[in-house]
């Protein structure tokens, strides 16, 4: 990390007895887009409100561009905010909305109009200065909200569930658009979302939160391929779970004894003892009984679900565990329900996680 624009150190916020945010530490580099991802109540919104200055942390420090802002009012921080419902001022025109921040930040009056025109071009809504927010569509309001926050050139942009108020198709379109706009401004950004696709599509890195704590900080690909906790593996994408007991010496390759037999696993940091194995559906395949695969498990096909380009095949293992595998829907002959098959996967595709409750 070359230079961190935003730096949270051991930030804790309690409401009554419960810690809404518990010892959260992460850094964001200049120009980076980081998503705070997690289920509702995980503390991501409280974290955002503390960065914005609407809440003050009980413990810890928040640095923006090297300055500790934890005790500063929102208007004393150079932070841009885009709200879930956009929060455009309904009694002002688009131009007045965008000018509001500039006037308060001391932009000279003669520069305001040209900067409004320019920022509206940058969000691809030129010439709508005179409109009222109520005359704009949801997507347009979203972009005006972005323009209003970006025009003052904030150190950090905070986006709270930026796409959740839009319909699915528009969401996908705007996701790319927001990325492009944030890139144009080279703006360090935090995006709060509960939608993993949104986080994966928008962010360079994801801070995954659960119950006020950070579960994992990683790139979108890393988070999916190398989850470090059961929660992370479960929250992102689909997974098959097989529990068992790991036995190996130190960090060497080992074997996990499960009800469906021993499963070989790669070297790793997880300690011996109860573990849960996670295998992504697309890494689990129906193979010929004698085909090369590191691990082979006997199963009986139970159901086939077509999901567009893929087919999701549900099979039951010997101990009754239901597992899913994804097959490309390319016209290959598929087993009918009730037929016995062999499921195979590689050692590398089997993620070892400490069982729930076990020490990390």
């Amino acid at each position: 990390m070359i230079q961190s624009v935003l730096d949270l150190q051991h930030v804790t916020k309690r409401f009554g007895d419960t810690a809404a945010v518990d010892n959260v530490t992460f850094e964001v580099a200049r120009g980076e887009i980081v998503a705070l991802l997690g289920p509702s109540g995980c503390g991501k919104t409280t974290t955002l409100r503390m960065i914005a200055g609407f809440e003050q942390p009980d413990e810890g420090r928040i640095f923006i561009s090297g300055v500790d802002v934890a005790r500063k009012a929102p208007y004393e921080r150079n932070v841009g905010l885009v709200f879930q419902d956009y929060a455009l001022f309904p009694h002002m025109s688009v131009a007045q909305n965008i000018a509001f921040g500039m006037k308060n930040r001391g932009v000279p009056a003669r520069d305001i109009a040209p900067r409004i025109a320019r920022v509206l071009e940058q969000v691809r809504l030129p010439g709508i200065e005179g409109r009222r927010p109520s005359q704009l569509s949801g997507g347009q309001q979203q972009r005006v909200a972005l323009a209003r926050a970006l025009v003052t050139r904030p150190d950090v942009m905070l986006l709270d569930e930026p796409l959740s108020n839009l319909d699915a198709k528009l969401r996908l379109e705007l996701r790319h658009e927001i990325r492009a706009i944030l890139a144009t401004f080279d703006c360090t950004s935090i995006i709060v979302t509960h939608d993993q696709e949104e986080a994966m599509g928008l962010a360079d890195r994801i801070v995954l939160m659960n119950k006020g704590r950070i579960e994992q900080v990683d790139t979108p690909v890393g988070l999916y391929q190398r989850p470090q906790t059961l929660f992370a593996a479960d929250f992102i994408g689909h997974a098959n779970w097989i529990s068992g007991t790991l036995a190996r010496r130190a960090a060497e390759a080992g074997v996990v004894e499960t009800k469906v037999g021993g499963i070989a696993v790669a070297p790793g940091a997880v300690a011996d003892g109860p573990v849960t194995l996670c295998i992504r559906p697309e890494r689990l395949a129906i193979v010929a009984a004698d085909a090369p695969a590191d691990t082979r498990l006997a199963a009986v096909v139970e159901r086939l679900d077509p999901v567009g380009a893929d087919l999701r095949i549900w099979s039951r293992l010997g101990d009754g565990t239901l597992v899913q595998s994804l097959e490309k829907n390319v016209g290959r002959a598929l087993p009918a329900p009730g037929v016995g098959v062999t499921l195979g996967f590689k050692v590398a595709d089997c993620i070892v996680l400490p069982a729930d409750g076990a020490a990390r």
């Binding site: 914005a52 009012a73 208007y75 709200f83 455009l88 001022f89 509001f100 308060n104 005359q135 209003r148």
Partner: protein
């Protein structure tokens, strides 16, 4: 042809009551105001020719003063109610916890249940010329026993009702303002006072005008407060009308005063209402 709906049909009972009870007497009152007055008898002269002399009388500076007093004192009581009531409503909506909120709203509603006579006499006994806190008037640089002191008592008496009216009305208005708009203004660098005036107050303007109309209507039609604490120094048009009808039995003059007051009030409220409406349209509602 659409058949009249049930909701239209249900209007009829109200119309049947309102027309004879309100419009009818009003027309009679208008008629009465045009009759010549002959001293010594009750009501206008039935046989005399209709005349405008009762109206001409009102143009006299003596009478104009009563109108000016009514509108001025009403304006004061309304303005104070707005200035004091807005922060109360704002506190209840934005800051108070559920218990505090219930207590405060209960208190405001409760005061409206208390008879205005009780409240006004309590004020007079406390702050009036003989009250223990009569020095209160000195804070405003006036003596409690002077005409200005009487005006202060009338304003306080009216405020006693207008403040809860205004605060309760504004609670509804403020509840409809998205608190995130205030957050947005703060994040755009506006200090709290600027956010308060440019966002919260600016967006409440239609509600503020509605509250003002309600409070003002209450004030200028008030009879009891100036009667009890005006001590003859502050006489509202309502008091004048009351004297005309009950003390000197000059019905035509009382009727003429009533008609003038009604026309001015209706014009005033129509003007204010159209202001509210144009503001809403401007806000793109």
């Amino acid at each position: 042809m659409r058949r009249p709906s049930l909701s239209t049909a249900l209007l009829w009972p109200a119309l049947l009551v309102m027309v004879p009870l309100l419009l009818g007497p009003l027309l009679l009152l208008a008629h009465e105001s045009l009759k010549p007055f002959v001293g010594g008898r009750i009501g206008g002269d039935e046989s005399g020719a209709l005349t405008l002399q009762n109206y001409a009388q009102i143009a006299d500076p003596q009478y104009v003063r009563y109108f000016l007093d009514t509108f001025r004192v009403g304006l004061l009581a309304t303005a104070f109610a707005l200035v004091l009531g807005f922060p109360v409503a704002h506190f209840i909506v934005r800051r108070a916890g559920p218990t505090m909120r219930r207590l405060m709203v209960g208190g405001l509603v409760g005061t409206l249940f208390l008879s205005i006579i009780v409240r006004v006499y309590a004020i007079a006994m406390t702050f009036g010329p003989h009250g223990p806190l009569s020095d209160f008037s000195r804070l405003f640089g006036i003596s409690a026993s002077s005409p200005d002191g009487a005006e202060l008592m009338v304003v306080l008496g009216l405020l006693n009702s207008t403040l809860p009216l205004v605060a309760l009305t504004l609670i509804g208005t403020l509840q409809n303002i998205n608190p995130r708009l205030e957050d947005a203004a703060l994040s755009l660098g506006a200090p709290r006072w600027k956010t308060f005036f440019q966002i919260t107050v600016a967006m409440s303007l239609p509600g503020i005008l509605s509250a003002a109309i309600i409070a003002y209507a209450f004030c200028i039609s008030n009879l009891v407060v100036p009667m009890l604490v005006g001590r003859g120094f502050i006489v509202f048009v309502s008091n004048l009308i009351y004297f005309r009808f009950s003390e000197v039995a000059n019905f035509p003059s009382g009727a003429a005063l009533s008609m003038v007051m009604m026309v001015i009030s209706v014009a005033l409220f129509y003007g204010l209402l159209s202001l509210v409406r144009s503001h809403w349209q401007e806000a793109g509602k």
